[in-house]
């Protein structure tokens, strides 16, 4: 891993975003629409029901912001790769002395920058529209953030590997992959709502523990930290598996001669 090369790759994305700030709109616009529409709907429902769920709005807003940490981390990897596909730059990168880890490392950092933009916007909207303060999660926020980001990276690598394998026809996976797991990882409702057979699947995905933990902390002010350690361990396994999948698919596309076809089509 050569930091100079990672920095060089990152500088490309910075030029890209600096040149067309319009790209940032997408990072802010949809999350804002989501948080406003669903936020106000929840406020409305809360006012018109018996009020059994005093924390419903906080759960929802917290879940939305945390989900976007995962989603933006995934997008950082997948969209950065697609930028290289769209601009027919992949071959230039592959014939340069860039290691796979350096390339992915740069996209991780781009993910971090995307998170910074989106989450800042959401935290501000949450505060002004609903007086919601994400920092009620206090220092629990840190392990939540790390776990969500790591899993976002894994999903990003998996999306990229699938696009590499199936070509541009599979481009929409860049946006779809995180939503494959969204119903299962208990973002907006507890794991206990899921059918029994699905619950072990949910618990095998690291971010389930983050969303369960978030509600726990909001309700009681604390949570069982061992589940976060478990999440972290799971995350490292997923990251290693995603990396192995990527290397394997890269090798496969090279052996089929698909890499150049894909990169120049």
């Amino acid at each position: 891993m050569n930091p100079r090369i990672v920095a060089a790759l990152i500088s490309r994305y910075i030029y890209l975003y600096a040149r067309s700030p319009i790209r940032m709109v997408e990072m802010v616009f949809w999350p804002m629409v989501d948080i406003l529409v669903w936020g106000f709907l929840t406020v409305f429902l809360q006012r018109n029901t018996s009020g059994d769920f005093p924390q419903f709005i906080t759960f929802l807003l917290g879940a939305m912001i945390l989900w976007d940490i995962l989603f933006r981390a995934q997008q950082g990897v997948a969209i950065s790769f697609l930028e290289d596909v769209w601009t027919r730059n992949l071959i230039n990168i592959f014939v340069a002395p860039v290691r796979t880890a350096e390339y992915l490392g740069a996209t991780f950092v781009v993910g971090l920058m995307r998170i910074a933009v989106t989450v800042t916007a959401l935290v501000l909207v949450g505060w002004f529209a609903y007086s919601f303060n994400l920092f009620v999660l206090e220092w629990w926020l840190l392990p939540f953030f790390v776990n969500l980001m790591l899993f976002g990276w894994s999903l990003g690598i998996i999306s990229t590997a699938l696009i590499l394998r199936w070509g541009q026809a599979a481009e929409s996976l860049a946006w779809a992959v995180p939503f494959f797991i969204q119903p299962v990882v208990a973002v907006f409702y507890p794991v206990s709502v899921l059918p029994g057979w699905l619950q072990p699947v949910a618990l095998a995905l690291p971010v389930t523990h983050v969303f369960e933990g978030m509600r726990e902390v909001m309700k009681t002010g604390t949570m069982d930290w061992t589940s976060l350690v478990w999440a972290m361990a799971l995350n490292l396994v997923y990251l290693a598996l995603a990396g192995a999948l990527f290397v394997w698919i890269l090798r496969f596309t090279r052996s089929r001669g698909l890499l150049t076809k894909f990169a120049t089509q």
Binding site: R4, I5, R12, N89, V95, A96, R99, R251
Partner: protein, 259 residues
């Protein structure tokens, strides 16, 4: 061979074979490229030129055979080799949404070029496109983009340079300039250059040696003028057509017709 060529082998293929769906795009293709030498790969569309280059760049894995650059096995030493190598082609472009200098600066940083900005200015000057420095890459004409791509290919002062049809879609004037740039790179920097082109003038003016491929096999090899002399043809162009149509060049007496 040019005066610049040395005995040092920078690139070598040994029995390189690449099949696609059972069809051999390259069939036991072997060659050596020396420091300071320009080697032209010639052949009809689909002869296997690009496939050879892709294998030599590690973009495509060979079905069988061995590849070496700087004496090192290609796949095992990919990064070390690529540091001293570069590539350009008319079908690969730099990102169209950045300015020329931004694109070049990104690659200069990737290659770890010392004093990158100075190097970029010097290279743009060398290929006579200094005025394009601040232009959006995507808005360049084909000829301008080709020369900017060449700047990218020269950024790391490569010892080994691979060019896939670098003069495709260039006007005769610019094509002539590109040939001069390539010759200078060989003469002044002792670059080893592997070159494909469909332009026979390119090959005659630039290449010290040429290899004719037909269906992935070598059918003729040698300095371009010598290939013509050995054949019954009048020009390299005619040799090309002959090989493309019949798949061979009769420099030996033809075998007697089968009764």
């Amino acid at each position: 061979m040019s005066a610049a060529a040395t005995d040092e082998i920078l690139l070598e293929a040994v029995e390189l074979t690449r099949e696609f769906d059972g069809v051999k795009a390259l069939d036991r293709f072997s060659f050596q490229l020396r420091r300071g030498e320009v080697l032209g790969l010639l052949g009809a569309n689909g002869a296997g030129k690009t496939t050879a280059m892709n294998c030599l760049l590690g973009l495509t894995l060979p079905t069988s055979g061995s590849l070496y650059a700087f004496g090192l096995e290609l796949q095992q030493h990919r990064v070390a080799i690529l540091r001293k190598t570069n590539f350009s082609s008319s079908y690969v472009s730099l990102p169209g949404n950045l300015k020329v200098w931004q694109n070049l600066l990104v690659f200069a940083r990737i290659y770890g070029v010392p004093q990158p900005r100075r190097k970029i200015d010097e290279l743009l000057e060398r290929v006579e496109v200094a005025h394009l420095r601040d232009r959006i890459t995507g808005q360049l004409s084909a000829g301008e983009a080709t020369r900017v791509n060449l700047c990218k290919a020269f950024l790391n002062d490569p010892e080994l340079l691979m060019l896939d049809e670098p003069t495709a879609s260039l006007d005769p004037d610019i094509a002539d300039k590109v040939r001069k740039i390539i010759r200078r790179a060989r003469d002044e920097r002792q670059m080893a250059i592997l070159y494909t082109s469909h332009n026979m003038r390119d090959i005659e003016e630039v290449c010290d040696r040429a290899i004719f491929l037909h269906k992935g096999r070598i059918v003729a090899e040698g300095p371009p003028a010598e290939i013509v002399r050995r054949s019954t043809e009048q020009s390299l162009e005619n040799v090309f057509i002959k090989i493309a149509r019949s798949g061979e060049l009769e420099d030996e007496p033809a075998s007697p017709p089968v009764p």
